[in-house]
């Protein structure tokens, strides 16, 4: 016997679990991206084109969903060919092998269907353009034609036809085919919706030829890479990326360039001219970048020059993973819990509120629309969105710090848990110092403060890094360190987002009057802002109750309270926006 270390899976579980040597996990069917888009690993239309045993269809659709019906005779399920002898599911021996409960109703259909397709009806289907006219199942008939607004008839778009066929249940189906290129009597066939997989083994029907199910799979070395518009490229085909870090260039802990200009600049990943000295920032939309991208002939020849991308950054000659900082663990669960309870959770809450307040201080895109500053609308849209994302993320951190606390209590490591929903009075800033909390519009100082608290190696990050280091030790329940780790990673993202905001707002530095993107916002009185403060109170009360319930494992009741808190959050957002339009800020504290 050959001495090659070979292993062959033999039974069904072994075959299902078998991983072909050299194929990564992402090649397994359960990891495949699939819907009805050509190029994906599983374009499900490849399955449904054989939905009816003995026949093979193609789904003819418009170019895209908004395109006009220019060629009404062409759309729908077009018969590619009839294949009665080649279709294994139609053969008597395959029908005989079905489980009794299927065989009992398939057998009476199979013989006549095979006879029809190999007889006169099959003959007539051999010439001309045949389309499905209607389908019928369980006494319900669906037409594959539609009446246009001008009263004319058109074939239903192939995508819609596919969607209807996808909805068929496993069971008897009757279909009618009509010839569209010249008059002919319709062909009506009684069959069944194919069993796509064997009911016992789960193996895909043998009617599908090797390669048939993946026949539309995109290839980087074809034009697909350039023409891809589904944004689903399975192995990551980014649109815009940060350029590779040069050797010796200073970087942030997540690998991004420390130079904000460099860190901010995003380039077109498929740019044709790849020389570093000529590479400029990508333009705003895909179509305007198009002329500068590799053309068809280039992508065929040089697709392998495209860079690998990790964490949105092109990788140059050699990838060096960022190093993790070693942090000193807290000495005891009580010390960790005290830091979470007295510092981290309250700071998260203060930051969420400060960011929210600053968000309300920015003009809405509608308000910015009339400005002489051409980019103001898109700049406030961007800045608002970044602030809201960051505020939301801080709220999530507040929940996670609470979760860390209640999980420590559940594990018996600390005595008990009570929800922490009180904002801190101080916020850490650079050099180990702190500043008083502050409700203020997003002027330069505020933005500087925000960036300072989120900065890598800042006090907040250091606290969480210590929490991660603590939770990694064996005393603590598994996975808690991952929760704390996510907060650390998010902190870097907040930092980058806020720096991006500073980047886009930098162009207004010389504006006169200053801050054309800001509203005139003054802190309101409790009476002016009663509705907003009531909603805020409702949020904290409901969340407090919900966290207590979550700590006890009562997810259903907690879920209802969290849903209530969300409703109150929406009220708060609406009220905050309404007040800010009148120059009134909410006095959260």
């Amino acid at each position: 016997m050959a001495n090659t270390g070979k292993i062959f899976p033999r039974n069904l579980t072994a075959r299902a679990a078998y991983q072909v040597v050299g194929n990564p996990d992402s090649t397994r069917p359960e990891d495949a991206v699939g819907n009805c888009y050509p190029g994906l690993e599983a374009d499900l239309r490849n399955l449904d084109r054989r939905f009816f045993p003995g026949l093979v269809f193609n789904f003819v659709a418009r170019r895209d969903i908004d395109a006009p019906y220019t060629d009404k005779q062409r759309y729908g399920a077009l018969l590619a060919y009839a294949d009665p002898w080649g279709d294994t599911d139609l053969q008597p021996d395959a029908v005989a092998r079905l489980e009794e409960r299927e065989r009992s109703w398939v057998q009476p259909l199979a013989g006549p269907l095979l006879a029809a397709l190999t007889g006169d009806q099959g003959d007539s289907l051999a010439t001309g353009e045949w389309y499905i006219d209607w389908i019928e199942q369980c006494g319900r008939q669906l037409s594959m034609m539609q009446v246009m607004p001008d009263g004319s008839k058109s074939g239903l778009d192939g995508l819609f036809v596919w969607r209807l066929l996808r909805g068929l249940e496993r069971g008897p189906v009757t279909i009618a085919l009509t010839r569209r290129d010249q008059p002919a009597p319709p062909v009506i066939l009684h069959g069944w919706r194919r069993f796509f997989t064997n009911t016992r083994t789960g193996v895909i029907s043998e009617a599908y030829q090797p390669g048939e199910l993946t026949q539309a799979l995109c290839s980087p070395w074809q034009h697909d890479f350039r023409d891809c518009s589904c944004h689903y490229w399975a192995a990551n085909r980014p649109d815009i990326v940060h350029v590779a870090i040069a050797a010796g260039e200073p970087v942030l802990p997540d690998g991004a360039a420390r130079d904000p200009e460099r860190a901010m600049m995003q380039v077109d990943w498929m740019r044709a001219d790849r020389a570093p000295e000529v590479t400029g920032a990508a333009l705003n939309t895909m179509p305007v970048n198009r002329p500068y991208q590799m053309d068809y002939y280039q992508i065929n020849r040089t697709w392998q020059d495209l860079s690998m991308v990790i964490g949105n950054i092109e990788i140059g000659a050699r990838y060096v993973p960022p190093t993790a900082d070693a942090a000193e663990p807290y000495v005891s669960p009580d010390e960790l819990a005290a830091a979470l309870r007295d510092t981290m959770a309250p700071v998260e809450m203060t930051l969420a509120i400060e960011y929210l307040y600053a968000y309300f201080s920015l003009l809405t895109p509608e308000e910015a629309a009339g400005s002489p500053w051409a980019e103001l609308t898109s700049d406030v849209t961007f800045s608002r969105s970044m602030l809201m994302l960051t505020a939301g993320s801080e709220m999530q951190h507040l929940r996670w710090t609470n979760e860390l606390l209640w999980r420590l209590a559940a594990a018996g490591l600390v005595k008990d848990y009570s929800p922490v929903l009180t904002p801190s009075e101080q916020v850490p800033c650079r050099g180990g110092k702190s500043r008083p909390r502050r409700l203020h519009g997003l002027d330069e100082k505020t933005l500087k403060d925000f960036i300072a608290v989120e900065a890598p190696k800042g006090k907040l990050e250091a606290d969480y890094s210590r929490a991660v280091a603590t939770l990694r030790t064996a005393t603590y329940p598994a996975h808690l360190s991952e929760l704390a780790g996510r907060i650390v990673n998010d902190g870097l993202q907040h930092y980058n987002r806020l720096r991006d905001v500073r980047g886009v707002l930098a162009r207004y530095k010389t504006a006169d009057p200053p801050y054309p993107y800001l509203r005139e916002l003054q802190l309101g009185t409790p009476a002016q802002t009663a509705a907003a403060l009531t909603a805020y109170g409702e949020i904290t009360t409901k969340l407090s109750q919900a966290y207590s319930l979550l700590a006890r494992g009562d997810f259903a009741d907690a879920g209802r309270l969290i849903a209530d808190a969300r409703v109150a959050m929406n009220t708060l957002l609406d009220e905050g926006e309404r007040l800010a339009k009148h120059g009134v800020g909410i006095p959260f504290w």
């Binding site: 016997m1 050959a2 001495n3 090659t4 270390g5 070979k6 292993i7 062959f8 899976p9 033999r10 039974n11 069904l12 579980t13 072994a14 679990a17 078998y18 991983q19 040597v21 009794e100 409960r101 016992r200 083994t201």
Partner: protein, 407 residues
């Protein structure tokens, strides 16, 4: 030479080269001699090496196929109804002790049968399938209830879009020609208890007065065999020290026209009469192997040879069947006593060891959770370290609880 095995794997040398059964997921691989050598070495080195080897072979899944946690609140899908806790035979070893399960003989009232059917069908979502088995005692002593229950189940299941399968296990002595058409109409699976040919059977399964039953049963099977195409009729042989000639029985029963023939060892009888002893079990194993060899010979020659034990073993190995329990008893399957008590299976009827609720109130979920937690194979000895534990599931609960694991 000692077989190479551990709780994770077993090496099997075949005429087609070495094969490796990976216990988790019952996955079977053909391997070459080099890999075989590595497996042997790893087993000698111990558990850690075995795990490393499996990881290197790409056979260690991210998540085990069978977790450590017991099944919790599985849906009810199958009931067997002890519609008649009475019998006209007097089998020496009967687990039901003549039908009454150690108590008074009695028959199931309609109210209990109807409640059982409703409980089963109403808990089942449309499109799924439930099973109703009729057992006893001898279920055909209560034919009217059997038919009424069947028709009722077919009707309410049909209304609810649930499909229902029926099965009966009978001693065959009371079969009538119209039973055959009834069973055919409702697509029953019929199992006839027969313990051997002629005298062999008669000594183990006589009528209550002691009269022989074999020929009387055979005479009554003919109408069933007329429907052979669509009405499967199985022979079930309970193996005791007095009918260990399995090869002969198998061939004779196959020749009679049974759909398949299966053997079940008698390990635990309430009165300990006719239980197999350890030397008997050696004989049984030899006979089963002989039947298996004949199966191989016949199948290789292209002939059908319906030796049920072998066919189901082959199917399970092919599919990679892996299960933490031997059967659905006390999980999705219960036996219902004549009084409506729910028990872990038909054998546990009226046995406090397997009492798990009542058809009116449904399964007692606390008792069921405890049952499932205790019965999981990974908590059984010596099963938890056995390579075959997920193929076998730990053996019949009833026998294990009352006799242990002598086999």
């Amino acid at each position: 030479m000692r077989d190479t095995e551990s709780r994770h794997l077993r090496l099997v040398d075949t005429a087609f080269g070495p094969h490796l059964l990976v216990v988790d997921g019952s996955r079977l691989y053909a391997i070459d001699q080099q890999s075989r050598g590595e497996v042997e070495a790893a087993v000698v080195e111990g558990e850690q090496s075995v795990r490393e080897l499996l990881a290197r072979f790409g056979m260690l899944p991210d998540r085990p196929y069978i977790g450590a946690e017991p099944l919790i609140d599985p849906p009810l899908r199958s009931l067997s109804l002890a519609i008649a806790q009475r019998c006209n035979l007097a089998c020496s070893y009967c687990y039901a002790q003549g039908g009454g399960f150690g108590g008074e003989e009695r028959a199931m009232p309609w109210s209990v049968a109807a409640a059982s059917v409703r409980r089963l069908v109403e808990e089942c979502p449309p499109g799924e399938r439930v099973f109703i088995g009729f057992l006893g005692g001898e279920p055909l002593t209560h034919r009217a209830l059997l038919r009424r229950t069947t028709e009722y189940a077919a009707e309410i299941a049909g209304r609810q879009g649930v499909s229902v399968g029926f099965a009966i296990t009978t001693n065959g002595t009371l079969l009538r020609p119209d039973d055959a058409s009834f069973f055919h109409r409702h697509r029953f699976a019929v199992t006839i208890s027969l313990d051997g040919v002629g005298d062999v059977h008669d000594r183990l399964r006589p009528f209550r007065g002691g009269r022989a039953s074999y020929q009387s049963i055979l005479d009554r099977l003919e109408p069933l065999f007329q429907y052979r195409q669509n009405l499967p009729v199985f022979a079930r042989v309970t193996v005791t020290p007095r009918n260990l000639g399995l090869r002969e029985t198998l061939d004779r029963f196959i020749a009679l026209g049974f759909h398949s023939v299966g053997f079940s060892p008698m390990l635990a009888a309430p009165n300990h009469v006719d239980e197999l002893t350890e030397p008997d079990l050696d004989v049984l194993l030899g006979e089963l192997i002989a039947c298996g060899r004949e199966f191989e010979r016949q199948v290789v020659a292209g002939r059908h040879y319906p030796f049920a034990n072998m066919i189901s073993a082959m199917e399970e190995i092919h599919r990679g069947t892996h299960r933490p329990y031997p059967c659905g008893a006390g999980a999705g399957y219960f036996g219902v006593s004549a009084d409506g008590g729910l028990f872990a299976c038909h054998r546990f009827v009226d046995d406090p060891a397997g009492a798990l609720g009542h058809v009116e109130s449904g399964p007692d979920r606390d008792a069921q959770r405890q049952w499932l937690a205790e019965r999981i194979v990974d908590r059984q000895e010596p099963c938890r370290s056995c390579w075959a534990r997920y193929l076998c599931g730990g053996g019949c609960h009833h026998e294990v609880i009352h006799r242990g694991r002598p086999a």
